[in-house]
C-alpha cells in the first residue's frame, strides 16, 4: 500500500515498528530512488575527470566515516586510530593483490575482515578502559600501526610502499575514474544500507545502550565487552574496506597518508556531519573533502598571484589555520553537526506556512 501522505507536525507513532521506520512516507522513498538514479545515471556522465576524482575520494572517505560513526557516534567509544585501520585495509588489499595474486573482488572484502581482526585486537583495552584512557590507548594503537607500516619492510615495502596493478572485475577493467566511480558508489550504497539497518537490530540497540549508560546497559543484561569488541570490529571492517578501495584507486600506497592527521580528519568528519547519524557521516565527508580541495585550490591561486614562490610558501600554513578554525567554529556553534542543520531545514519546509 502506498503511503503518500505528508509528514505529521509531531510525533504520532503508535507502535515501535513505526518508530523504527526509515521512510516515514513514500515521498522519502521516491526521493531516494530519484537520487540514486541521478547518482548512477547522470553524475558520472556530466562531471569532468577532476570532479569524478573528488567524488570518488568522497565516496571512499564516506564509507570509512560511516564505520567510525558506528563506533564513536553509536557505541560511544572514541577511537583515534581510524586512519591507521584505514591503512591496514589498504596494505592488506595491496599485499593480497601483489603477493598472493588474489582478484579485486575477493581482496577488498578480505582486507575488510583482516582489518576487523586488527581492530578487535586494538579494541581489547576497552575491556577495562573508558573515556580518556581508551582514547589514549587507541592513539597508541595509531602510532604502533604506523611504526609497523614503515618497519615491516618485507611485507609493506617500508617507506617506498607498494604499487598495485589496475583492478578488474572478471573482464571489466576498472582503470578509468568513471568505472571506479560505479564500484565505489555501489559499495557505498550497500555499506550505508547495512549500517542504517544494523542500528535497528538488537546489536544496534545494544550499542546505543552502551553509549548512553554502560552501567545501566550491563544491568539490563547486555554483555558490554563482546558488544564493544563487535563495534570495534564492524567499524574497522568499514575502515579496512574503504582502505582497500583506496589502495586500488590510488594504485600505489606509502605509509605517509595513514597518519594521526587522517584519524583526526575522520573524527572531524563525523563531528561536523553529526555524531550518531549515518547521513551525518556522509555530509561530513563531503564537507571535509570539499573544504580541503577548496583550500588547496585557493592557496594555489594565491601562490600564483604572489610575485615569487616565497610568498606562496608563507601563505600555505594559513590553510591549516582556516581548517582548524572551521572545526572549532562548527563545534562551538553547531555541535550536533550538519545532520542537525539538514533536519532543521527539512522541518521548516514541512511546517512551512503554519510553523508553531
Amino acid at each position: 500500500m502506498l503511503n503518500l501522505r505528508f509528514h505529521p507536525c509531531g510525533n504520532f507513532n503508535e507502535s515501535y515498528e513505526k518508530e523504527l521506520t526509515i521512510f516515514e512516507t513514500d515521498f522519502g522513498r521516491l526521493f531516494m530512488i530519484v537520487g540514486l538514479i541521478l547518482l548512477f545515471g547522470v553524475v558520472p556522465f556530466i562531471s569532468s575527470e577532476y570532479i569524478l576524482y573528488i567524488l570518488n575520494i568522497i565516496g571512499i572517505y564516506a564509507i570509512a566515516a560511516i564505520g567510525l560513526n558506528l563506533l564513536i557516534g553509536y557505541t560511544g567509544q572514541i577511537s583515534l586510530g581510524h586512519g591507521a585501520f584505514f591503512g591496514v585495509g589498504a596494505y592488506a588489499a595491496a599485499i593480497l593483490a601483489t603477493k598472493a595474486g588474489i582478484p579485486f573482488i575477493i581482496a577488498v572484502p578480505a582486507a575488510g575482515f583482516i582489518t576487523a581482526l586488527v581492530g578487535m585486537i586494538f579494541g581489547i583495552p576497552s575491556i577495562r578502559l573508558k573515556h580518556l584512557y581508551l582514547t589514549i590507548a587507541t592513539l597508541a594503537g595509531q602510532f604502533i600501526l604506523e611504526y609497523v607500516f614503515v618497519q615491516w619492510e618485507s611485507l609493506t615495502g617500508g617507506a617506498e610502499g607498494i604499487s598495485v596493478t589496475t583492478a578488474n572485475i572478471f573482464w571489466i577493467d576498472l582503470g578509468s575514474d568513471r568505472n571506479f566511480f560505479y564500484v565505489i558508489f555501489i559499495c557505498f550504497v550497500l555499506m550505508a544500507w547495512i549500517a542504517v539497518n544494523l542500528i535497528r537490530t538488537r546489536y544496534g540497540r545494544a550499542f546505543i545502550a552502551i553509549r548512553d549508560n554502560d552501567q545501566a546497559a550491563e544491568g539490563m543484561g547486555i554483555p558490554i565487552f563482546p558488544y564493544k569488541l563487535l563495534s570495534f570490529a564492524i567499524s574497522s571492517f568499514y575502515a579496512g574496506f574503504a582502505g582497500a578501495l583506496f589502495a586500488y584507486y590510488m594504485m600505489s600506497i606509502t605509509p605517509e597518508p595513514f597518519n594521526l592527521w587522517l584519524s583526526i580528519e575522520y573524527i572531524a568528519m563525523i563531528i561536523i556531519g553529526g555524531l550518531g547519524s549515518i547521513p551525518g557521516a556522509v555530509f561530513g565527508s563531503i564537507f571535509i573533502v570539499t573544504l580541503s580541495e577548496v583550500l588547496s585550490y585557493a592557496t594555489e591561486i594565491l601562490m600564483n598571484l604572489g610575485t615569487s614562490t616565497a610568498a606562496g610558501i608563507t601563505i600555505a600554513p594559513l590553510r591549516e589555520f582556516i581548517y582548524g578554525l572551521v572545526i572549532v567554529l562548527f563545534i562551538i556553534f553547531e555541535p550536533k553537526g550538519l545532520a542537525e542543520v539538514w533536519r532543521i531545514v527539512r522541518s521548516s519546509f514541512r511546517l512551512w506556512p503554519f510553523s508553531y
Binding site: 604502533i144 601563505i315 572545526i327 563545534i331
Partner: protein, 292 residues
Amino acid sequence: MEFFFQILINGLSLGFLYALAALGFVMIFKSSSVLNFAHGELMAIGAFLFLVLTTWAKLPIWLAFILTLAGSFSLGFIIERFFLRPLIGEALIEVIMLTVGLAIMLKGLMLFIFGGDIHSYPDFLPESLTFQWGAIEISGVYVATFIIGIIFLGLFGFFFKYSSQGIYMRSVADNQPAAMALGVHVRRVFALSWAIAALVCAISGIVLGIINGINVHEVSAIGLKVFPVVILGGLDSIGGAIIGGLIIGLLETFTGGYISSGLREVIPYIALIIILLIKPYGLFGLVEIERV
C-alpha cells in the same frame, strides 16, 4: 659503563622535560577534565613569545621572562573564555576535537608567522653551571632545566597545598557539584587552571627552546608525547606525571641507545598499552570503582 651513565643522564634530563610538559597537562585535567591536544602548541607559543621579546625586542632576560609568563597567563584566560566555556557540559569527544582544532589553528598561525625553521635563543646561561663528575659531563642547559623545574614544582606544590585558590581548584577536581554548593566559583577556577596551565606550558616551552632550539613541528610532537607520560602516571596525579615523565624519558633513551632508533619513537606507546592493560588508571591515578 660510561655509555650507560651518559644514556642514564640523557634519559633523566629528557624525562624531566617531559615531566615539566606533563605538569601543565595534569593541571588542566585535574580541575576541568579536559584532554588538551593543543598542549604542544601552547608550549610553542610560550617559547616563541620569549624569542620575540629577547631577540627582536631586545629586552633583558628577566623582563622578557616575566612578560612571557604574563602573556601566556592571559592567553590561557582567553582560550578558556572564548573556546572552552561554550562547551561546558558537552560530550567528551567534542571537547577533545575542539582542542584538536585549536591545535591545528595555532600551529598554522605559528608556521605562518615564524616558518618551519629552527630558531634559537641567544646564549645567556653562565658557563659555571656546567657540571663535571669524573668522565660524565652535564651541560649547563640541563642543570638550569633542573633548577627551574625544581623551583616551579615546589611553587606549584605549595600553591595546591596551601593557597586558597589551589584548594578551590582541588575541590572542583574532586567533586564539581559539591564545590559549587560550597560557594566555589567554578568558572573562575576553570579559567585560572587554563591560565596556569598555559603559564607552565610557556616555561617548559622556553626550557625546551634553550635545549634544542624551537621548531613548531618538533614542539608539537612533544605535546603528543605528553599523553603516554600522563597516562602512565595516572591522569590526575602530579607526582605520577613526574615519575611517568622520568620513566618514559629513560625508556626512550635506553631503547634508542641499545636497541634501535626507529623503535625509540613508539616504545612509549607500547609501554603505555601494556601498563593500561595491567593498571587501567595508570600507576598513581585515582581508581574509579564501578559495579553493576
